[in-house]
């Protein structure tokens, strides 16, 4: 279980949120929403351990992030707004590098299957610089479709630049992740069109959680 206790986040001197309590149970999908500048991305970065909270703590399995073993990071997959793709590498090389960072290796067939799921199987050897924004987003999100997925997904605006088909693929992957007991925390400006499971909504303007 991923949890935040009395969490406060700030950017520079400005307090973005304060006293935030959150519990994400296995199988749950939580949609973070709020006006621009309310700290959605900052909250995701804090939950990932990339930024330190101004107050409170993030807990995973009841243990604070700063006391977790390094293995904790193997259970985490963070897809940021920046896609972490290199213009001069091919789609396949980018995915292999992402996997290598987590100590994983994937066969060309596994990479092809994941990309095909996103409808870009034919772009495996294409340099990233030749891809459209939507294809780049699909490439970044193809990590979700690789075998042995992480149990905790933190996704920053994953629906951005996706067409209807891409949105459907993402929803299918979120459903699968939920069914195998994984946890998802995502931000989105659009309404999240997920039906199974219906995501919990955390409004950063009011700190209210609703289903």
């Amino acid at each position: 279980m991923l949890a935040a206790a009395a969490l406060g986040g700030q950017r520079g001197e400005r307090l973005l949120f304060d006293g935030l309590d959150l519990q994400v149970q296995p199988g749950q999908v939580v949609w973070l929403r709020g006006r621009n500048g309310r700290g959605k991305t900052s909250l995701l970065r804090i939950m990932a351990g990339l930024s330190s909270p101004a107050k409170g703590a993030v807990l995973c399995g009841g243990v604070a992030l700063n006391k977790q073993s390094a293995d904790w990071r193997r259970r985490l997959l963070y897809v940021a707004h920046a896609s972490a793709l290199k213009e001069d590498l091919t789609v396949s090389e980018c995915l292999n590098f992402s996997a290598a960072l987590q100590g994983r290796r994937h066969s060309p067939e596994e990479i092809h299957t994941a990309l095909s799921r996103w409808g870009i199987g034919g772009l495996r050897q294409a340099p990233v610089r030749t891809l459209s924004q939507g294809q780049r987003r699909r490439t970044a999100l193809a990590r979700l479709a690789l075998p042995h997925p992480a149990s905790i997904w933190l996704l920053d605006e994953p629906f951005d630049a996706l067409d209807n088909e891409g949105v459907q693929t993402l929803c299918d992957l979120l459903t699968q992740q939920s069914r195998r007991g994984g946890t998802v925390l995502l931000t989105s400006h659009q309404t999240v069109p997920l039906r199974d499971p219906v995501p919990l909504t955390l409004d950063l303007d009011s700190h209210a959680i609703a289903s």
Partner: protein, 245 residues
Amino acid sequence: MLLVHFAHPPWGAAAVYRCLGALMRALFLAVLLRDLRLAARRRIDALLPLVFFVVALSLFPLGVGPEPETLRHIAPGVVWVCALLATMLSVQQLYSGDQSDGSLEQMLLAPQPAIVVAGAKSTAHWLLNGAPLVVVAPLAGVFFDLSGSALASLIMGLLLGTPVLSLLGGLGAALTLGLRSAGMLLILIVLPLTMPVLIFGAGAVSAVESGQSAAGHYSLLGALLLGTLLGAPLATAAALRISSE
């Protein structure tokens, strides 16, 4: 395969440490090979510091004049200053590209310590920028009329000193990541730290030219390399974490 090992840890701490070691080697190699591959696909960018080094070296005989005695006298300092400036030129982009496209965040989220990433990035930088300087150093012998022994001493010094420049440059790049005027700040931070390398590297050539042994200079350069190797990646990793906050 490593994933399977971690998912079912059936053995003791020694096996876990062995597996962690394998993971750290895998991360080191992944980052190193990716940077080498990127450089291979941007050959012009990768060659620019080397071209700068050669062009800057070639300007001195033209500017100072063709007097061999004068050229031999200034050669060690000139070569080392040019090597230092070429390193500074190339080290500025060491982390900035990874930060802007989100790759740095992903590297910092790897289960292994960030020191592995810092070590791999500095190694890649040395292989792409420091090692080529050592390879083209014999040109200095032509430009500055250096004797064979002086040239050998210069190459030996560069071999020991350029990794220090890459490691310190990596630290400077991490400390100034995301700052305004990062390029200038980087130079102001790193240049004072590299003075011992400059002094002992140039001193080794001067010692050989005056018929003395350069062993002491090599020892000091080696000690500097060991000290930097132990300290710089650690400090770079900490700086990267702070910069990415």
